[in-house]
Symmetry: D2
């Protein structure tokens, strides 16, 4: 069961996302904003590749980390901001395909720290496969 | 004591680095290539920021991961290529300043896996402070 | 859908588990062995506590790491053994209650490396809550 | 340059260590308590082995995590206690030898969070080699 967020939180996430220039550089868009769950999608642009032509691990990390961060933000009392404390990524397949889809989820929302995970998938002709798994910690900060 | 790499390895690293479009996007340059130690420097460009105007965690991760990967590559027998298996980053300060400097180091070079660390520093007016610490695993792959 | 393992693999896991003296020290038992999924249960013994009387993070880690390792082993061709390459744990609640239950799962079984996760729960009067989340990499080794 | 801690902090660390029953179970002792640096040593007891007779990854983790935690505590204002938020371990060699020596260090002591690393070495006939590297986050808590 996915719970929606209220209008103020939805606006907060979208405004914050829009201020992240790296999201625009990567052509990333917010595909979904629910309570404790945020999805970001992005193509694999020519400007974000590694030496073999696949999407760079840094691209995959960026999308997963950002989706996880905003998932955490949706459960924080406004006016919150969120910072990544630490994040771990396991890369399980090359980032190749039509686009990457990063789904961030909250595992445990705490007063001081929020534990999150993210999965990044590559989509090709409508079929998805897992590219990376992330697990980390988000910190609420005063805006 | 820093050991130099031979000409073939130095060329290998520089060629591979040049094929990573994301390095060019971020304005990153190879500042040093030694045996088990690689340094990458990059400005904090307007295209790589997070919502508060600091360098995005994805930028910091990308530089640290790439420096660590090439540090691992310098100790692998040619013609090797290297892939990130997993990487963990602890972010300890905002990525703000004139430029970021990522230093990757090999902790343990194995036949099957290489354990690496990286430190990313922000330099302002010639003074550096630590922005992030990374620890991860690199895998040699057939080219 | 949980798939069973064949008799040879079930015996392999149980024999290997029985040789781990630390499992006996912690009073741990194999509660379930399925394909890509292994569950280990253990009480929180007086000999495994931290300074506040809760189960030590080392106990929680040990159970999660071992469950994840055996989950990986179930998908490897016999006669395999498995070693932990790296493991990351996020601790989300104190290890308190009647017993701990660690569920290891395979995310991606590869020829060279297997990516795993584990969840450790504390059970009190039949109710469970998450204590820790682990994510890591397992390596098949020749026995 | 290693800075000593004052008598109150030294007593705090030693009292807390003595309350951790798992340290006694593993035969671990506090070998050094300095500002931002704590060393713990332990034999590899028969009760703490994995399936091949080496020290269990859970033993190595426990020693490294505990050394890192107390290193963090030495830089916190009394009366603090410390909890592990998250910890990542890379295992680079089997835990074999006369004893294990875990050295925890503070990378960045913050008001809200402290970033730590630890190295665990195995000592055989006076010679040491690295067994594992840890990197994690510690949280100060009210006692």
């Amino acid at each position: 069961m996915i719970k929606t967020v209220d209008a103020a939180m939805a606006a907060k996430v979208r405004d914050s996302f829009a201020r992240q220039s790296l999201m625009a550089t990567f052509g990333a868009t917010l595909a979904e904003v629910a309570a404790g769950r945020v999805v970001i999608a992005a193509p694999i642009l020519d400007l974000a590749r590694q030496q073999h032509g696949f999407g760079h691990a840094g691209l995959t990390f960026t999308l997963g980390d950002t989706a996880a961060g905003y998932a955490a933000l949706t459960l924080m009392p406004l006016p919150a901001e969120v910072l990544t404390v630490e994040m771990k990524i396991n890369l399980v397949a090359p980032a190749a395909g039509d686009r990457l889809i990063a789904t961030g989820r909250v595992v445990k929302a705490g007063r001081r720290l929020t534990v999150v995970t993210a999965e990044v998938e590559a989509e090709t002709d409508g079929t998805r496969r897992t590219v990376a798994l992330l697990q980390g910690t988000m910190l609420p900060v005063e805006p």
